[in-house]
C-alpha cells in the first residue's frame, strides 16, 4: 500500500513503459497509416516521459541544474514535429497515387 501511495521515479517509468507498449501494438497491428503515425507519437511520448522522470531523479542527485533529460525531451519533441511533417507529406503523396491509406497496400517501390 505504501508503494502505491508514495509516487517514486519507478511509477513514472512503468507508466512510460505501458504507453510505449500501446504505441508498439498500434504500429504493429493497425492498417491505417494515420493511426500508425499517431502510435509513433505515443512511443515518442513514452520516451519523453522516461527522460523527464529520470531528469527529476538526477536533479535529486546532482542538484537542481541537472536538466539534461528535459533538454533531451525538447529535442525529441522537435524530432516528432519533423517526423510528423514528413510522414504526413508522404501520406498525402501516397493517397494521391493509390487512393488508399492502408499501410499494407504500400507495395510499390515507385509510382
Amino acid at each position: 500500500m505504501d508503494a502505491m501511495l508514495h509516487i517514486s521515479t519507478l511509477h513514472y517509468l512503468v507508466l512510460g513503459a505501458a504507453l510505449f507498449l500501446l504505441g508498439v501494438i498500434g504500429v504493429l497491428t493497425r492498417r491505417n497509416v494515420v493511426i500508425v503515425l499517431m502510435s509513433i507519437e505515443l512511443i515518442l511520448n513514452a520516451v519523453n516521459l522516461n527522460l523527464v522522470a529520470l531528469s527529476r531523479y538526477w536533479q535529486g542527485v546532482y542538484g537542481p541544474n541537472a536538466l539534461h533529460g528535459q533538454v533531451f525531451a525538447i529535442f525529441v519533441i522537435t524530432d516528432a514535429a519533423a517526423e510528423a511533417a514528413v510522414g504526413l507529406g508522404i501520406l498525402i503523396a501516397f493517397f494521391r497515387n493509390k487512393e488508399t491509406i492502408n499501410v499494407d497496400e504500400v507495395n510499390l517501390l515507385k509510382w
Binding site: 517514486s8 513503459a17 504493429l28 497491428t29 507519437e41 510528423a84
Partner: protein, 169 residues
C-alpha cells in the same frame, strides 16, 4: 508551493493517459483517435508539471497539442476516410504483433521488478522559478551543437514535406 495530493493526481492522469492510448489504437475513425491522442498529450503535459518540468510541459502543449495534432487533423480531413472505416482495421499479422509487444512487456516487467531498488525517491524539488532559465542556458550552452543540428533537421523536414505533398515541383 508544494504539490498537493500527488498520488491522486498521478493515478488520475496516468489513467487518463492509458485510456487515451488504448482509444488511439482501437478507434475505427481516425479523428476519434486523434482526439484521444490529444487528451493523452495534455494529461502528459500535466504529468510534466508534476515532475517540475514546466517548460517541457509548455512546449508539449504548444507544439504537440497545438501544432502537430492540428497537422494530423488537417491531413485526416484531406484524405477521405469513409471507405477506410468500412474495411478491416487490423492487418493480417496482428497476432504476431501483439505477441511481440507482450514479450517486450514481459521484458519491461522483469527489468522493473528486478531493478526496483535502484530508483529510490530522493529527488528534491527544484526552484521552479529557475527551470526555464536553466533549460535555456543548457540548450544554448552545452547543447548548442545539437540545437543547431536540430534546426538543420527541421529545415530538411520542411523541404521534404513540401516535396512530398506538392503535386508538381
Amino acid at each position: 508551493m508544494a504539490p498537493v495530493a500527488t498520488p491522486f493526481f498521478f493515478y488520475l492522469l496516468s489513467g487518463t493517459m492509458l485510456i487515451g492510448g488504448i482509444l488511439v489504437i482501437t478507434r475505427k475513425n481516425a479523428v476519434h483517435s486523434a482526439l484521444a491522442l490529444i487528451v493523452t498529450l495534455l494529461a502528459q503535459a500535466a504529468i510534466y508539471l508534476m515532475l517540475y518540468a514546466p517548460f517541457v510541459a509548455g512546449v508539449q502543449i504548444i507544439l504537440y497539442a497545438g501544432g502537430i495534432m492540428v497537422l494530423f487533423l488537417f491531413v485526416i480531413m484531406l484524405v477521405s476516410i469513409e471507405r477506410t472505416m468500412k474495411e478491416r482495421q487490423f492487418n493480417k499479422q496482428w497476432l504476431v504483433g501483439i505477441a511481440a509487444a507482450g514479450a517486450l512487456g514481459g521484458l519491461f516487467m522483469a527489468v522493473y521488478t528486478k531493478g526496483k531498488g535502484i530508483f529510490p525517491e530522493h529527488a528534491l524539488p527544484t526552484a521552479e522559478a529557475q527551470n526555464t532559465q536553466a533549460v535555456g542556458s543548457l540548450l544554448y550552452g552545452q547543447y548548442m551543437f545539437a540545437f543547431e543540428i536540430a534546426s538543420l533537421l527541421l529545415l530538411v523536414a520542411i523541404i521534404g514535406a513540401v516535396v512530398m505533398a506538392k503535386k508538381r515541383i
